[in-house]
Assembly symmetry: C2
Homo-oligomer: 474 residues x 2
């Protein structure tokens, strides 16, 4: 363990209480419900100073939490009366939906004041979802440098590296020494970005020729030349690259920052790991929500807006459910004569839907982790089909025996057993196949896979079971 | 933009081609299918040198990809013939399941050789899932220092900060100056961790009294004392803290590393952002998979093992489907007389299931993002109930009119309309309520919410629709 022998180096001047840390350990993160209640209480009773003081003790994430978690009317009065108590970073930490509604209640001047304290990527994030006219009004209040940076950022497509990057970075020429670089960092202290992890080495025409992590720079001799240290395979991220792909590169290479280049391969910005953590969260959330037909705005959106955004998905599901009912309707005569089939038919459809969803979820996850290649796609589909056969046989036996006993009809038992096997095989085949084919066709597999799958398993389930029952029992 | 005026500092000695970067930009990340085919081809034809040379050009993630994506028999012969061509980092990057099966085919000596090139957290990761006896055999071949580190790591519970941390970190006493610290880093160059982002300031008895990001250290004057720079609110992570909570702290505070402390608040390790990215991926994957009743091993597991792991979930679903069938069975008389209800009943149940899943997914996601507090839990459930009422009314109208026309029975139309409203309200209420109540009771909401919900929406859907039909139509 590379640490100095501290026991021997006791600093007798220390004023620090050795137990200080232990108390800190007891704090959990985040603003507590009690703190929220206290602030709202002070707000309701008009204790202005108490409100402001309490807010000033919060860090950025806690301040954002406070704004998010309180009732809408409290939020409005808190922000209109004590808006200045909140830091720019608190607004930057807000969830998209809440941030939008909060900013729409503010003046362009107020928002410009917030923006000037932020790095260019956070500033862009703040205004990105506002109306174009409102954006223009805010831009007018900004310094020309910030305005230019924002306009350039807006020119990149959504979810691109260009939108994600910040324009503040550290780049030095390749012939500098370690000592000269450190001196430059010390002198330029105020104009540098708040945080940085790597230094980019650039050629005279702004091409990135390498990058040096700070921990490598700091360990090198002052006389070392940078080009002897530079890690040459810096990962150039084209500004147009999709953010999901950027996240995958960071994940694979364990990067903390990477240079972003324009179409001429000139350095124009940097993406840091904290942006990537947000992207990973966002993409994971998207997959989860899309599979259920939910919009990400639904988490914080109002009930009416949420109902509207979910309507479309439910309507498509209604159409597929009606389609399944039409299939059932084809076998009206069978149902009239053997009511038992009406009682049992949802079991076949439901088992197919559930088994298919298992296969589908695994396939969607593998696709978003980029673990599916041309060479293993067929193998994945084949494996899920085998799983369908294995579980199909097991559940055919269980359900066949159960049905034979329940309705004292071995014939009905063998009908449901056969339908179960067929539907679970179809479930495995289509559960893995649908997302892989959609992805291959360039569609997002998380969006429509579920609805296609359940349509297939419902229709096959009802058709095979009722059809066989009609053939065998009538 | 804080960069030196590079145009004026042209380095005429530069040997670098300014276009070099552009070619790199064309490479996408990851090993291509063509490269995989080439290596397997060389393997089959016995071109040993070509195989080794090709592997040596791969980075850690690509090497792991190669092992993961090829057929099992190719994997076995590749590793037995050319195992030494793969670096320790390639094994560290492998997915859990594949890594386990690969290591089980190797000797304790071979694995010990891999481990000695790794940091303690990666080493622990490598052996964690092996049999205890096999672990002991491997431990015997390790240096006593590494063995001790691994044994200590194994003593922490799964998914705790103690398992996640590495034991290699940089800690210096608080009375040192910036200059002395930099000199220490330069001298100790070889014993320091490969990468680090922050320096921890410790008191004589190993308590963390602060941390300094490298970019702050490097910008400070050599004569500055560390305790004037130290950021005092370093986030002490107790070794027993759950990794999900650690990830939440990193995410909230945009950290790149954090000190891990034992129960006496003494510094024992460090967690870095790359570990956290893995945790975030893992937790997001768990939520997604658990909601569908799938084990994370299912992605790479063999078909037979996968069938077995999915059986339990499907069996529980079978029981709930049978329960729903029993409910249908209660209304045999109604179905016998009005076959139309058998045709329509899956629509009511399916709409309830889908609407409920939407509410449920949003609630599960909010819970894992720690966005649910005591103060807003009831509000979330209430909002979903309102959404259920709104969409319930809309779909009641659509389905009521459609049914009245299809079966030329306005009465049947009003029965299905009423059942639709009731089931969608129940879906919203239970979809949001079940995960929140489970979480409150200390259960994982992602595991059992789905099955409880669909049981509720199926039973309510069938019962209300068939019951009403019996009352109104008979």
């Amino acid at each position: 363990m590379p640490e100095p022998d501290i026991e021997k180096l006791v600093d007798t001047d220390s004023e620090l209480d050795p137990n200080e840390g232990i108390e800190k350990q007891e704090n959990t993160y985040g603003i507590s419900d009690e703190d929220i209640d206290e602030i709202i209480d002070a707000l309701h009773h008009g204790y202005e100073e108490a409100v402001v003081e309490k807010i000033s003790t919060l860090n950025a994430a806690d301040g954002a939490d406070l704004i998010s978690k309180i009732e809408e009317e409290d939020r409005e009065s808190l922000l209109s009366e004590h808006g200045v108590a909140f830091t720019a970073e608190m607004f930057a930490e807000l969830q998209e939906d809440i941030r939008k509604s909060v900013l729409e209640n503010m003046s362009p001047h107020q928002i410009a004041e917030i923006i000037k304290d932020l790095d260019s990527d956070d500033a862009l994030d703040l205004i990105i979802n506002l109306d174009e006219e409102f954006q223009t009004q805010i831009m007018k209040k900004l310094s020309s440098k910030m305005r230019l940076a924002l306009e350039e950022g807006l020119s990149f497509p959504e979810d691109s590296a260009g939108r994600l990057m910040q324009r503040e970075f550290v780049a030095v020429p390749q012939f500098w020494t370690v000592g000269k670089t450190i001196d430059y960092l010390r002198e330029g202290s105020k104009t540098l970005p708040d945080e940085f992890f790597d230094i980019f080495i650039v050629s005279p025409n702004h091409h990135v020729v390498g990058e040096i992590p700070l921990n490598k720079l700091i360990r090198s001799k002052r006389t070392d030349k940078l080009d002897t240290l530079a890690i040459n395979d810096a990962h150039h991220i084209p500004a147009m690259m999709d953010q999901e792909e950027v996240a995958q590169i960071f994940r694979r290479e364990n990067l903390t920052s990477a240079p972003v280049v324009d179409e001429n391969d000139r350095l124009i910005g940097v993406i840091t790991i904290d942006d990537i953590v947000d992207v990973i969260d966002e993409e994971a959330q998207e997959d989860l929500l899309k599979l259920a037909g939910v919009d990400s705005g639904d988490i914080y959106g109002a009930a009416f807006k949420t109902s509207y955004s979910r309507f479309r998905w439910l309507f498509i599901n209604l159409l597929t459910a009606i389609l399944a009912s039409l299939v059932i309707g084809m076998f009206e005569a069978t149902i009239e004569q053997v009511v038992a089939v009406a009682i049992l038919m949802p079991i076949v459809a439901s088992m197919g839907g559930n088994a298919g969803t298992q296969a589908l979820t695994v396939a969607v996850r593998s696709l978003s982790m980029k673990a599916v290649s041309r060479s293993n796609a067929l193998r994945i589909i084949w494996k899920e089909t085998i799983v369908g056969i294995l579980n199909g046989v097991v559940f055919a036996i269980i359900m066949g025996i159960f049905t034979a006993l329940w309705f004292t009809s071995p014939l009905l038992g063998s009908v449901i057993a056969t339908a179960m096997i067929i539907n679970l095989i179809i479930a495995g085949l289509f559960g893995a196949g649908i997302p892989i084919v959609l992805d291959h066709m360039g569609s997002d597999p998380a969006v429509s896979s579920t609805v296609i799958l359940t349509t297939v398993t419902d229709i096959v389930g009802f058709f095979v079971f009722l059809g066989l029952a009609g053939l065998v029992l009538l």
